[in-house]
Amino acid sequence: MLAKRIIPCLDVRNGRVVKGQKFQNIKDVDDPVRLAKTYSELGADELVFYDITASNEERDIFIDVVEQTAEQVHIPFTVGGGIRSVEDFRKVLKAGADKVSVNSAAVKNPQIIQEAAEKFGSQCVVLSIDAKQNEEGRWSVYLNGGRVNTEKDALEWAKEGERLGAGEIVLNAMDTDGIKTGFSLDITKAISEQVNIPVVASGGAGTQKHFLEVLTEGKADAALAASVFHFEEIEIKALKNYLAENDVEVRQIP
């Protein structure tokens, strides 16, 4: 049976893994390649690297991290952050990434999803959606780390992304990101039920139970988290044991 996936996310700035809260208070954590290797050994199913750098110089350091990871880690990984063109897709795929996630650029120019899917295949095109709930209870798509509301409906955008050729959706619920009160189950479930591609839940993981909830009630195919893994509050192996005890299909390593 297909297993639910557990995915640590590594935000990389200037060649280091960093972690902030609600996109602020950035702290240095570790060397990305070393951390990627450790997570792979502990049973992580995939990894996500987000490039949160700004300058071109730092971008080269990031590509170097991608290359080294591809050499040393034998599980799939996604690269995101700063992907603006089909050429950017090509660059990170060539460096060894398996999938590329696109966020703001796709909101501004949805065709990028289609072009990348046609060129490289849907399997490597991930649509990443930052969503926040408004006062009427609807979910809107945000840009620039939650600063810009696009007024686009998150559920509709997910469906459009699928139609354009995305092979997977990462849903980052911004209300819960970094504050460890649990994933946003309703929107995750709504999207997962209405698209026929895998949905990765992101934002809000604080306890093992949160993972269980989003993978069952929330109907997510995978769950992504950063700080609970980086600061060793949740250990991947123990998390998978817990999920298995609660009848969730997970890949356990001996």
Partner: protein, 205 residues
Amino acid sequence: MISIIDYGAGNLKSVQHALTTLGFESDIVSSKEKIIESDALILPGVGAFRDAMEQLKSMDLAETIKNQAENGKPILGICLGLQLFYETSYENGTWEGLGLLEGEIVRFRDDVKVPHMGWNTLIPHSDVNPEKGLAEGISEKDYAYFVHSFYAEPKNQDEVVLWSDYGLKFPAAVQKGNIYGMQFHPEKSSEVGMKLLKNFGELVT
């Protein structure tokens, strides 16, 4: 020397890194001469069936690969590479493959999410010897990493070495003599994938 065929489809470096880690010498090649010279071949592949076949033909490699395989040179197809070995694919049309194996490539039904993406269990075929051959050391507890929307329906089910289950049973690994195929990505399947690549490497070098 194992040659990984570069025809512009996908991530060759990961396959090469995995082989290097396992101690097998490999080379990335894109010419007929190199293909003919090598001891064994790997045909990787991501993306669309039609594009891949057209690319192999436009580089004038399709016939060479086919001849080499038919004359006994070991060849491993990975993911789309495996699919290209079959006679026909129904991926957005009807396309002819290399025809090294009998059968067709069809899409998963819509009662499951497509692509089939993630780690799924490997189920050894009933008469496969778990102590030797491609599936040596593999049991039903082992997972491999899959990313695909289409799968092989082989004419001869005895060519299936490992099955997997995604709404229905489909071949995860196949073998007919010197022709090997893996629908999952061994280079991305951690220890289990490395074990399978090692089995292949030891069988062909």
